[in-house]
Symmetry: C2
Subunit: 259 residues, 2 copies
């Protein structure tokens, strides 16, 4: 199978850098083809801005949405964006690996999402009407592919537990899992989270890589998070709220996962 690893850490000799190398080796040894987008090493351009859109005349009004569609359709996107889109289309599975910075992904990775996820590629797919709100949340360009987050954090596991001060890790990751990965069609696997990164000695590193290795070995068999497809009957359209008989009385992120 083909695996794309999108990696966002500024120091190759960090824990994240080591885990990235471990993953490449493990996947390669298992016979998979691996490509790595090492965003810091690539000096990835983070901001989505008018410089990405050659067709916008100097001084013309720039629309991040409509100009994204035009560049995608006309094939005038910058090479770095088109190249990442090609990697996504090539991959059977994509692993996003990053440290949790201020409770979300690093800016350089967020900028990868904003620029690579063009209108026509990752959103704006399919019919958009009052009865069908696009092919998204379970459908879309990346349907049939798997995605998994590998995340490190300095905090302790209890800080991210159901009553922990940071909020539950699954809720913190929901906007990524559901809003960035499930949206264009990925099947999203449960995340692999490393806590308390300041205290990783040799024994802890051995345990982490053993567990991570098991997750990589099970990349094709692990059951994805059971997010509810948008267009399979669970949602009212166009309100896009859960129908009253679906998870009755429940609210919040967890209501969008079926039992």
């Amino acid at each position: 199978m083909k695996v794309l690893l999108v990696h966002a850490h500024p120091e190759a000799r960090s824990l994240n850098g080591s885990l990235k190398n471990f993953m490449v080796e493990r996947l390669t040894q298992a016979g998979h083809e691996v490509q790595v987008s090492d965003l810091y090493a690539m000096q990835w351009k983070a901001p989505l801005d008018v410089a990405d859109f050659a067709h916008v005349e100097p001084g013309a009004h720039f629309d991040p949405v409509l100009d994204s569609l035009r560049a995608f359709e006309d094939g005038t996107q910058p090479d770095d964006i088109a190249s990442e889109q090609a990697k996504l289309l090539w991959a059977d599975a994509v692993i996003f690996q990053f440290p949790l910075w201020w409770y979300s992904m690093p800016a350089i990775l967020k900028g990868w999402v904003e620029r690579v996820y063009a209108y026509g590629f990752a959103y704006g797919i399919g019919e958009h009407s009052d009865t069908h709100w696009g092919d998204r949340f379970g459908e879309g360009t990346l349907a049939g592919k798997r995605a998994m987050l590998v995340v490190t954090t300095g905090g302790w596991a209890p800080h991210y537990s159901p009553r922990g001060i940071n909020g539950p890790i699954n809720d913190l990751l929901f906007p990524i899992h559901h809003g960035i990965l499930y949206y264009p069609g990925f099947e999203v696997l449960p995340p692999f989270v490393v806590y308390r990164t300041g205290k990783v000695d040799d024994a802890a590193y051995a345990r982490i890589t053993e567990e991570l290795g098991d997750r990589l070995d099970a990349l094709w068999t692990t059951t994805p998070i059971a997010f509810r497809p948008q267009n399979a009957g669970d949602y009212e359209i166009p309100a896009l709220t859960l129908r009253p008989d679906v998870a009755p009385g429940r609210t919040g992120f967890a209501a969008h996962v079926s039992d």
Copy 2:
């Protein structure tokens, strides 16, 4: 009073650009001093990387946390970072204004947080031990100041309602409200959210600016979100979980807001 407006949109003639101008005018007319950090206009450097740290020798191991502390303490931070920190210290209130892109802030603003929020400035403040986990979540460098988000989104309000497919807007914004603003001490006001930005005609714009104007007029009197302070007895330390008698049985983001 003094207001800092941190603005992140790439097109000055956009809805966001218009709302930014409206806010500057309204606040100035009310007698406040206003500074604007227009991140796209400033060509703000988004990624936190080794280039920010002059003291790191070429080829040396870069530690984003420890090197951040050293640069902050030694006064060797880049001017753009030090300048934003000075604006934060100057301000009585800070407004962050941005379009919701992929369910979070634009990368350029996330990178502002990562770079400006230095170790010693926004985190790593106060005693860190098994009985006091730093001055944060209600205490810290920015305590006594107010912060408010002004957010635009193309989706409809029901899509962001308690049972909406995107997740409730308050939950989507929790990692920013609580994890980025309350963390270093800000009092966080309820957000001002504009939905369905593709359909803003003159009448809608008039209604939006009237409501936003009211919010600005009430910037000093609006009741902040009642997040629970970390160090006032609601949390077990060092587990940082809610004590059993606090919001008993409740989990998730909302449990960190007192009734």
